[in-house]
Subunit: 409 residues, 2 copies
């Protein structure tokens, strides 16, 4: 047994979060390192979803709306502490791209400016939505280099830029931006700052309040383990609520939802960013995912996540002679909970890993992401993945595999 494997075993033995693995349905021996795309199933989620269908929906019928109605803001309040927000600033609703559309449209309009800045490496759906909004406003989307520093962003900010939108943890590289520094910079140029927290929530510290961030969106099916396509969330700083008018004026955003007045009147709180009826069965997974993450504690999760990624990076460093380049920043404070490597044969290597029971995520054209979900990923799995990667590279077993592209975020 080599020294890293021994260390991994010791780390698992002393892991204060070790018992959380038993809170998930794990009936396979996969080394599942794609929890940053779709998290595993919490046992509580299975039970809660059964309860919602077989007890609430079946027996309460339409009267269930008495407690389902405000799920979006009620569960939003449960999420708020995990992202440094206050009660009343967060809602669970819709999908991330729709939430981005609502908040980016509203904030660009409120800014009185026409341009939006993001980075070329931001998630494509974010870039597409932002570009349409800027174009519709008569402006344009300005693309910074991938994972921009504050200095690089500063060079792009002028009086036409009303909104800057970045992923806090980049989906490709895993680089984590400096939320406080960038938010301050953007405010200094009179623009609003919108963070996409899809790869952050549940795995790293997010301090929207401390950063004085204006807006945020994110999804719940990655580190929050809420289930495939579960609703996303949005955050709007409280003092902005009444300044922002989002374009999709549905009844869930009305000040008096059941007043059925002739005219639309926006709710004065975060509900104004809601639109329609929440998908209650899927919302059950969101609530459980947040509860489990809260119970484990974001401090402990971040500590373990950093140790998992550090261990993998240490093992991966020794593979540079096989053409492996580590894309993710090596400084622990500069990365999220996934590690990305680059290799010319990335697709074949990812396929070979899957054949060996290691599930990473391929990102065209040449990246492989390894996501470490601190609620259930073990240190032993982490080293096993690195060892299998080493074997594949040494034996070049991937050479014979087809080199086509595929990927789901």
């Amino acid at each position: 047994m080599d020294s890293l494997t021994k260390r991994a075993i010791d780390l698992d033995l002393s892991d204060p979060l070790a018992s959380y693995r038993d809170r998930f349905i794990i009936e396979d021996d996969l080394v599942y390192l794609d929890g940053n795309s779709l998290g595993r199933v919490p046992i509580d989620a299975m039970e809660r979803i059964r309860d919602v269908v077989e007890d609430q929906w079946a027996h309460e019928l339409v009267l269930g709306w008495d407690h389902w109605l405000h799920s979006g803001t009620r569960i939003g309040d449960l999420l708020a502490p995990l992202i440094g927000a206050s009660k009343g600033e967060v809602a669970i609703c819709d999908q991330t791209s729709i939430n981005l559309f609502k908040l980016a449209s509203a904030s660009l309009e409120a800014s009185g400016r026409t341009n939006i800045v993001t980075d070329v490496g931001n998630f494509p759906s974010d870039r597409y939505v932002l570009e349409s909004i800027a174009t519709a406003a008569g402006g344009r989307l300005i693309l910074a280099a991938e994972d921009p520093t504050a200095r690089e962003l500063a060079a792009l900010l002028d009086d036409d830029v009303g909104l800057v939108s970045l992923s806090h943890v980049a989906y490709r590289s895993g680089a984590m931006a400096d939320g406080a520094e960038i938010t301050k910079l953007v405010h200094g140029h009179g623009a609003l700052m919108l963070w996409d927290l899809a790869h952050s929530v549940g795995s790293v510290h997010v301090h929207l309040g401390e950063w004085e961030a204006d807006l945020a969106v994110g999804c719940t099916y990655k580190y929050l383990n809420a289930g495939p396509g579960a609703p996303g969330f949005l955050y709007v700083r409280r003092d902005l609520h009444e300044k922002l008018e989002q374009p999709i004026t549905g009844w869930f955003g009305h000040a008096d939802q059941f007043g059925f007045t002739e005219k639309w009147e926006a709710a004065r709180d975060v509900r104004r960013f809601l639109v329609g009826t929440p998908p209650i069965v899927s919302m059950a997974g969101v609530e459980v995912g947040i509860a489990l993450t809260t119970e484990a504690g974001i401090d402990a999760l971040r500590t373990k996540s950093t140790m998992l990624t550090a261990l993998f990076i240490e093992a991966a460093k020794s593979l540079s002679s096989h053409g492996i380049e580590i894309v993710t920043p090596l400084g622990p404070s500069q990365r999220g909970s996934h590690v990305t490597i680059r290799h010319d044969s990335a697709f074949q290597i990812a396929t070979a890993l899957r054949k060996r029971g290691v599930i990473p995520d391929f990102r065209a054209p040449d990246l492989i992401r390894f996501g470490f979900a601190p609620l259930y990923t073990t240190f032993a799995e982490t080293i096993r993945a690195a060892e299998i990667l080493r074997e594949i590279l040494e034996l070049r077993t991937y050479d014979a595999l087809p080199a086509t592209r595929k990927g789901v975020t």
Copy 2:
């Protein structure tokens, strides 16, 4: 036993759909007449949702996306025959108000005009969304009288009207519009026609193709029994796909979703109206609800629905001396599957009905809706509801109840 009760028993005995009641979880003796708000739980839905969570999500993990990815259009194709659409014209996605926003925005822009017509009785969320879109286009929302005839609509149509949007079955009165006649009228004025099918799908005949309807939206949690807040659907006639550009340009609408190109490029088919990741657990309920409705057959469902509403209307007619007015059209071809009555003490009467185990739906200020879901509502229940209503009216047991407002669609 009076003659109507005898007739109801006979009708249940000869009901070809009677066995479908056993396909639902029904462990209560409620006379549930709010299936037009939230349908009951199909046993298949319970099982399918268990399967999606406990087998697919738990064991396939991220690889589940291989078959989940195109759920929206795959299940849309299953829905298409129920609304007279063709394969490739329907998608399941998002909530009704969001789908309305996407289609109404795109179609008003394509029309080159600025005004939208709807009716004052249309569902408030529809009116709010449509008004925002017209206003943003520099135009206005024009309100016809409730449940307008083609002649009444004709008086409002001019060269500034680019879109007419109506509910096919009105949520308040239960009146059913003439889809063919109104669509033709609207086309004659050079505008596009968008039907909201929320109260139609699964209970009445809808022939979008025959009507040459341009657009439609609807929800799945009423007569389709897909579960609380399950995703809605949209329909766009095939020849319009490439003419309409919807504003929320998310990755699920991209021509090459995983190409991750720099620029947005709309899919050339109905996928261009999709935005983000579908909520897979809630989608399972949609698929089951459509399958059950398809199995029973819309012809048989519509026949039974008409008989149920006719029976209730016959019983309710005799209550006019107690201040009951039947709001729903008496002609079978002019109504959907719910019957609405008006009474000055509607809220108290609805409360009294609930206390007696009859679940109708109150609509402020003075309407009570009784929804008849032909998959599980019996003729005996229908008469029982009418008899309990008669007792409440005769004994005036409702007088002592509080007269506050409340309601969920």
